[in-house]
Amino acid sequence: MNKILFFAHLKDEVGEENIRIDVAGRTVAEVKELLAAEYNLQKLDSAMTAINEEFASNENVIEAGDEVAFIPPVSGG
């Protein structure tokens, strides 16, 4: 099982701060595609991804138990 976190506009669009689904064995790109379709997310492509709080690329494969966060362009400061 994996915990998926959404922030900023993604959180608003999904309607949840996080969800739990099993995406072990899939790449980040595959999970983005799946979630974009499921929640009708237009801008997931422009989001960065973090696996266990470290930036990951679209090719990274998610393992069981990984926490995956989608990170829209940041605007702190």
């Binding site: 422009s46 960065m48 973090a50 709080e53 930036f55 990951a56 940041v74 702190g76 400061g77």
Partner: protein
């Protein structure tokens, strides 16, 4: 605890106190405040949100980058989250170094990096609506799904 996400107003002096050292001749601070007008549009207030645990790690990474590039530097950063009104303090960056040129440059590095790699977002509220603000550095979307290596790890 030199790197923090705060839910309450930031005590600027407390951030400065973390970087005081006997061999610093200079301390610079950057204080980011909520500005009323941006491109002629009037902001009422902001909401800042963070991926808190990762944000602290990324602030620590920025501190490490600075200590490597500017030997002798000490760094402390506190970023606030929640609702902020006009003139409220969103972020305080304090950097001490033996000599002053480094204190300015290292501090500037910190704020630029915060805007690249620290998972914090702001939602602007105007009289006629609200919006999550992204892409402040006017970069294109990351084609590989993450910042380039050089952006992330310098």
């Amino acid at each position: 605890m030199n790197f923090e996400i705060a839910k309450e107003p930031i005590n600027i002096q407390a951030v400065i106190d973390k970087v005081v050292q006997r061999n610093a001749g200079a301390i610079t601070t950057f204080i980011g405040t909520v500005r009323e007008l941006t491109k002629g549009k009037k902001t009422l207030y902001l909401i800042y949100e963070a991926y808190e645990s990762m944000a602290v790690k990324k602030l620590e990474q920025i501190g490490d980058e600075i200590k490597e590039r500017w030997p002798g530097a000490e760094v402390a950063i506190t970023h606030r989250v929640g609702r902020l009104d006009i003139t409220d303090v969103a972020v305080v960056i304090a950097v001490s170094t033996p000599h002053r040129a480094d204190a300015y440059e290292a501090n500037r590095h910190a704020i630029e990096r915060i805007k690249e790699i620290v998972p914090i977002w702001k939602k602007e509220h105007w009289e006629d609506g609200e919006e999550w603000i992204g892409d402040q550095l006017e970069k294109v979307a990351y084609p590989t799904g993450k910042p380039e290596e050089k952006d992330l790890y310098e």
